[in-house]
Amino acid sequence: MELNAKIPEGPLPEKWDRHRFELKLVSPANKRKFDIIVVGTGLAGGSASAALAELGYNVKTFCIQDSPRRAHSIAAQGGINAAKNYTNEGDSIWRLFYDTIKGGDFRSREGNVYRLAQISNAIIDQCVAQGVPFAREYGGLLANRSFGGAQVSRTFYARGQTGQQLLLGAYSAMMRQVAAGRVRLFPRREMLDLVVIDGRARGIVTRNLLTGAMETHSAHAVVLATGGYGNVYFLSTNAMSSNVTAAYRCYKRGACFANPCFTQIHPTCIPVHGTYQSKLTLMSESLRNDGRVWVPVKAGDKRRPEEIPEAERDYYLERRYPSFGNLVPRDVASRAAKAQCDAGKGVGETGLAVYLDFRDAIRRDGRAVIEKKYGNLFQMYEKITGEDPYKTPMMIYPAVHYTMGGLWVDYNLMSTLDGLFVLGEANFSDHGANRLGASALMQGLADGYFIIPYTIGGYFAGTPLETVDGTHPAFGEAIESSRKRIDTLLAVDGRRTVDDFHRELGRIMWDYCGMSRNNEGLEKAKGMIRALRAEFRENVRVPGENETFNQSLERAGRVADFLEFAELMVTDALARQESCGGHFNEAYQTPDHEALRDDAHFCHVAAWEYQGEDREPVLHKEPLVFENVTLAQRSYK
């Protein structure tokens, strides 16, 4: 297979314009002849459903929750980037592009990232017009704040609930199209398979989570916007139902999976506190605008933070990275926290935490100012931990948060399977080996509002598509194999619960394929995952039956896929013998313990092609070509 990213020719700033001109159009009257399936209703899926329906396409939209408004984008706290330069600090499309490429440690495509930066401004315009209540200055104009990896304030925000407000914007735009009859909604549905006919994606199989009924849906194209796979680690900041199943099914049907080992460990999360814990909670990166990160200078110092005098505190980020200070990118901040804890300087009961301290900011600006900026986050922290962060420093520790890897897509956001488009976190395209804060929301909405509406038209106009419906044998085969998987799970009747397996898988991944990796550990993990998978197939207990609302069965299907997918992550991590961004192989580091890339051998996207059960997948490499930026060792000093 030859990977063709289809990056348009020409100078970087003109590529997208030129491409939009060259894409063939579907006439307004013909659009209603095309059916599009959108799976997922987060920022990417919600905005795509709205925008495609506005154009006149027939859209069928699916979500796993009871309402499309609950997709996990809703939990994004901090903000969304755009190159508006309202603050007059010298921001520009070029600077946003450059920061994002560099933040991703030069493992993303110039063309895609530049387009993202170009579109960023239109997103803000669109959201404001929809009624998203962004923060304002006294004069009524939009306010901005800073995020990691940038030296300008370009982040737009709605208190600590930016994701919620942007999602409700996309949701309401989509609901307007439901009212207009252009979008049909299918809530509480889980996609279990992709239907491929003549090499093209032509439909999906879903399970109705209320009744267990297997349903088929046909269309001219399938748009997958099903988010990331961070829950492979069991504990993550992802919502409980976030999973890899839809994407993994597409992989098994022939779509390549790119850079699965690129995962983001977010530095500011509430530390783990017990074995019964079900998920981790993020504390927005925006807190690093005013909070100072520190640990005691002396290892094993057990005093209360208030009792530790200034001279005995190590503000290690400010010390090591004077120009970015507490606002270094996420991967750098996370590894630094781990290093302090590994050196015995971690704080709290478990020693797996560092302080994030607002004392100085409160002294400087007053409590009222801090409360206005972060009030809801402080409240959330207090609810979970029972401690008051206005009085005592927060304790934070890194946690799995986002996955940069995803299904491989070309510049049109189409996967290696024709007619299967992948948007948002589910694709791999824009964040390289590390995503900058406030860029996920930007990418989800760029893909949905402003890219897919054009590129899908180009596909329809240039592709002869026969009529197919659910009676095609490919649908029958897909239903059959989905049902078989479910029957097999229910038939095992073993002794361990699904969560028990999931927790153990998470441990393996966190220990060996987490913040810091080495070849020996990865090899070991591979064996452990295989053994665990084998045991799962013989010893899992899934109560109940298929024909009811059965949450254990839902989880069992997802964990079964995680148990296969985890091995792909490890395989990818082993193949990439360098360190870059969130992928840190201990054998490759600079003398100051920063990630050391190997551009001569690994300046590529690793796209994996499925070869069948128990066979090694085949690696395809898409070389990354940099014509506009110079590859440099990232430095935030």
Binding site: R70, H72, Y86, Q165, A179, P453, G544
Partner: protein, 254 residues
């Protein structure tokens, strides 16, 4: 503070919408007070699974108080006893050793029970479909800063927009009214200049839709405000009423 407690749960079990349903009692030992309420239910569900019984069905997703998916009535109060807290953010440190916790689904005509603690809240989406948006097609928006919004108005709009659509207001209301939910959306959009052109039509359509979905009337009991996990104020109901009556009197939208 005691680090672990014993509690007794009385949980509503109902196999499906057609089933009659009943309470089952489950004693739970050694519950860490750092656990969240849902984690406590996880622990019980693991035990039920091991003993060959069906675990309790309950809706949840983000577990950080923002998606609005979780919710149950605990000892008569939607989302439990803590003010301004969703069920997923409620922690066991707020309970005492020996407590008996009665856990039921949202009870409301507009929210039929699906199974155990899970209800169908699709009616809330229907209210939004009726008009909870600003009609702006993608690509047609003016430059963002060409619409200044006074900071106070933006703040108030945000207060209303914080609604997570969990349905606790409906469950709390003796009449089963969705007025606070609808008002939060109408108010959020009516407070912003972008939302003014459609304000009248929006208020009328959403209120009419609500009436047709089996929700009760609002008679100012204010339980909704007391139980709202996002502490949305009933001042928004007053604003919805103003918008609605103004629309009825003055506009051609009817």
């Amino acid at each position: 503070m005691k680090k672990s407690i014993h509690v007794t749960l009385k949980v509503w079990r109902q196999a499906s919408g057609g089933d009659k349903g009943r309470f089952e009692t489950y004693p739970l030992k050694d519950i860490s007070t750092d656990m969240s309420f849902l984690e406590m239910l996880d622990v019980l569900n693991e035990a039920l699974t091991h003993s060959g019984k069906e675990p309790i069905a309950f809706d949840h997703d983000c577990r950080e108080g923002i998606c609005g998916m979780c919710g149950a009535v605990v000892n008569g109060r939607p989302h439990g006893p803590e003010k301004g807290t969703t069920l997923c953010q409620l922690h066991m440190r707020h309970f005492s050793d020996g407590d008996v916790l009665v856990i039921e689904p949202w009870r409301s005509r507009a929210f039929p029970v699906i199974k155990d603690l899970v209800v169908d809240r699709g009616a809330l989406d229907q209210i939004i479909i009726a008009g909870g948006y600003i009609s702006v097609n993608t690509g047609s928006a003016p430059e963002a800063n060409s619409i200044p919004v006074p900071q106070g108005a933006a703040d108030k709009a945000m207060d209303a927009a914080a609604c997570i659509g969990c349905g606790a207001c409906v469950a709390a209301c003796p009449n089963g009214s969705a007025m606070l939910f609808a008002a939060a959306k109408v108010s959020h959009l009516a407070l912003l200049p972008q939302g003014r052109p459609e304000a009248a039509r929006r208020a009328i359509r959403m209120v009419e839709k609500m009436d047709g979905l089996g929700f009760g009337n609002c008679s100012n009991i204010t339980e909704c405000e007391a139980e709202c996990p996002k502490e949305i104020s009933i001042a928004h109901i007053a604003r919805l009423n103003r918008e609605f009556f103004r629309a009825q009197l003055a506009s051609d939208e009817k």
